[in-house]
């Protein structure tokens, strides 16, 4: 394999809030290989969200370099970043961030629309993505007609549909009950097996166990970075654990 998927060197991020400079990130160096599933943990204010925004190309670092697939992202302009987000990345958010009053299918089509994929192809790929997350029968439902877990599946399908190399998930199970959380993690693991690299921000240890690597942040630094054998997400077992049917 060529170089790592993500290469972050001495990245710092400073926000200016009024008169004070807030150092959200101080000198972070991190390298993620293709196929890894990395859980980023840490208390609020540790800089994990800032790191995720930078890795997700939503934000640019104040200092240091960030290479994604060997490409220097930290110097790109807004249009180029939008392209990277569109082609290389998929996002999953804690609050799903689906377009309201828009069907699941259309939500999933959205990134393809900006990628300039033609109508028929867009449709086909979006259906495929929805089927892959197990929502083949809910394509025309609107977000408000779906459960949280289903909405998150739509969001995952939307992240998947552009066939990204990296999926960035910000607290993807934060708004879900534990059983649904495990289901979602099982889905992530399945995607991981197909070669998608997963970057997961979470504050739940239970969720982090499903990752192959756990990075813990504190005060803008990486406190620890440990590889582990991921636990297989098994909804049935998880349910048994908490005494549910």
């Amino acid at each position: 394999m060529a170089g790592p998927l993500i290469e972050v060197e001495h990245v710092a991020k400073v926000y200016r809030m009024g008169e004070v400079d807030v150092h959200a990130l101080r000198d972070v160096t991190l390298s993620i290989r293709e196929g890894e599933s990395v859980a980023v943990m840490g208390p609020s204010g540790s800089g994990k969200s800032t790191l995720m925004n930078i890795l997700g190309c939503l934000d640019r670092p104040s200092a240091g370099t960030y290479r994604l697939l060997g490409e220097e992202v930290s110097r790109m302009d807004r249009n180029a970043l939008a392209r990277v987000r569109n082609r290389t990345l998929g996002f999953v958010f804690q609050n799903f961030n689906l377009l309201a009053r828009t069907s699941a299918l259309e939500n999933v089509e959205l990134p393809l629309l900006y990628a300039g994929v033609s109508g028929r192809e867009r449709h086909r790929r979006s259906r495929e993505a929805l089927e892959r997350v197990g929502l083949g029968d809910r394509m025309h439902h609107h977000p408000n007609q779906m459960s949280g877990g289903q909405q998150q599946r739509v969001a995952i399908a939307r992240a998947l549909v552009t066939r990204p190399r990296l999926m960035v998930a910000d607290e993807p199970t934060g708004n879900l009950d534990s059983r649904t959380s495990v289901e979602i993690m099982a889905l992530f693991q399945e995607l991981g097996r197909s070669g998608i690299t997963l970057l997961l921000v979470t504050h739940e240890r239970d969720i982090a166990r499903y990752a192959s690597r756990v990075v813990v942040m504190r005060d803008g630094h990486i406190q620890s970075d440990l590889r582990q054998t991921p636990q297989a997400a098994d909804p049935a077992a998880a349910a048994a654990e908490v005494g549910l049917p």
Binding site: N53, G56, L58, D59, R78, N79, A82, R83, R85, N86, R87, F91, F93, N97, L98, L99, R101, L110, P111, L113, Y114, A115, G116, R158, T162
Partner: protein, 409 residues
């Protein structure tokens, strides 16, 4: 995104807030329809003025003789005959810009048919008169040059006179009318001419050869023309030249020294017409600009709603950016929404404006004149309004930071 998708997304977004979109559009609808209706009203008024002047004859000069001065009281133009028949001949032959020239001798006299009478304007003219006035006969024939030579006792009647003497839609040709106890054979009836700009009825007149007028109505032949000379040119451009030629010719013939006052006057009806047109044009421009202001207000309405919409949909913008919308995609989306509002406002405004103009035209008896160029301009202008007032909100949306936008509650 291709343009079709951009428009589809825009229309869908607008349809989510139907009432709001409609009210926003209403500003543009009112603006555009007001512009169209106002311009149509102006055009209608202009056409009326133009019609009135055209019915007097186009490319027309009237040469009037000078004024008498009796004990310090000056009688005004036409009060002293200074124009001679020789002058008329000279104008016909020597003024190259002149196409037709006719004397017009007039008086008011009662005209009697067998059982009716009607006091009207009695005129002595040459056959050229009808060419100058562009006034054909609808029944019978016009005055013929041979009638002039012979001093024939023939008349052609205006339609009002025909109605008064012979009744509506009667054929007077072949009948005899009496003027000053002299019988005249009616040889023709003129087409309906309508009213002058001042409300004078052109059709309330009878015409006879000027030679007949001289001998039978005025009594006796004279050296001077006891009336005016009417002159026309082939095109409007030649009027000024004709006027200069006639002035030089007459000054020369009347031996007026350089610096001396003319003993005649030349009136250019086209100039009077264009002065009137100017007035109407100014009025039209005034009305249209007031209407345009309302279009501007409509545009501000669009800007206002688009700003609200951008704020409301900040999160949506964030989502779109996160999945790969470039700033210019977002810009295009909001710009097209604004444009869609203003464009539909423009189209609906055109329909409403045409309808309103129609109603007004029917109400005031104006000709309905909708200028296609104004429709195009109004729609384009409403589009410009959409872009101009949509640009700022759209830029505001495009400049949003995706993280801030996603966090926006």
């Amino acid at each position: 995104m291709n343009p079709v998708q951009v428009v589809r997304v825009a229309v869908r977004a607008l349809l989510r807030n139907k009432m709001r979109s409609f009210l926003t559009t209403l500003g543009v609808i009112i603006g555009v329809s007001a512009v169209i209706a106002m311009v149509a009203i102006g055009e209608g008024a202009k056409a009326r003025v133009a019609d009135a002047f055209a019915s007097m004859g186009s490319n027309l000069l009237i040469v009037l003789s000078g004024s008498t001065t009796a004990g310090g009281a000056r009688g005004g133009f036409g009060s002293m005959p200074t124009l001679t028949w020789e002058d008329l001949k000279a104008i016909r032959t020597e003024a190259s810009a002149v196409r037709y020239a006719t004397p017009q001798l007039r008086t008011n006299a009662p005209v009697l048919s067998e059982d009716q009478n009607w006091a009207t304007s009695v005129n002595g003219v040459s056959p050229e008169f009808f060419s100058i006035r562009d006034w054909p006969v609808t029944l019978g024939s016009a005055i013929h040059p041979s009638d002039v030579e012979a001093g024939a006792k023939v008349v052609v009647l205006g339609q009002t006179v025909v109605e008064k003497l012979f009744g509506n839609s009667a054929d007077p040709v072949g009948h005899t009318v009496r003027i000053k106890k002299i019988p005249f054979l009616v040889v023709g009836m003129l087409a309906r001419k309508g009213q002058s700009a001042m409300g004078q009825d052109f059709d309330d007149a009878v015409y006879m050869p000027y030679t007949t007028f001289q001998s039978k109505i005025q009594g006796g032949l004279q050296k001077f023309i006891a009336g005016s000379i009417m002159v026309s040119t082939a095109t409007g451009d030649e009027l000024v030249r004709a006027e200069r030629q006639i002035r030089n010719l007459l000054r020369d013939r009347h031996h007026i020294p350089i610096g001396g006052e003319d003993d005649f006057s030349i009136r250019n009806l086209t100039e009077m017409a264009s002065a009137q047109q100017e007035g109407v044009n100014t009025l039209t421009a005034l009305l249209a600009s007031i209407a345009a202001v309302s279009l501007l207000v409509g545009g501000i309405g669009i800007m206002n709603i688009m700003l609200v919409s951008v704020t409301e949909r900040t999160r949506e913008i964030g989502i779109r950016m996160a999945v790969g919308a470039r700033p210019r995609d977002v810009l295009a989306q909001f710009l097209v929404e604004a444009l869609t509002l203003s464009f539909f406002g423009g189209v609906a405004g055109v329909l409403l404006g045409v309808f309103a103009a129609n109603q007004l035209a029917a109400r005031f008896g104006w000709p309905l004149l909708i200028r296609p160029d104004i429709i195009v301009i109004a729609v384009l202008f409403s589009g410009v309004v959409g872009v101009a007032f949509g640009l700022y909100p759209a830029q505001k949306a495009a400049r949003l930071d995706p993280i801030d936008a996603l966090r926006f509650e």
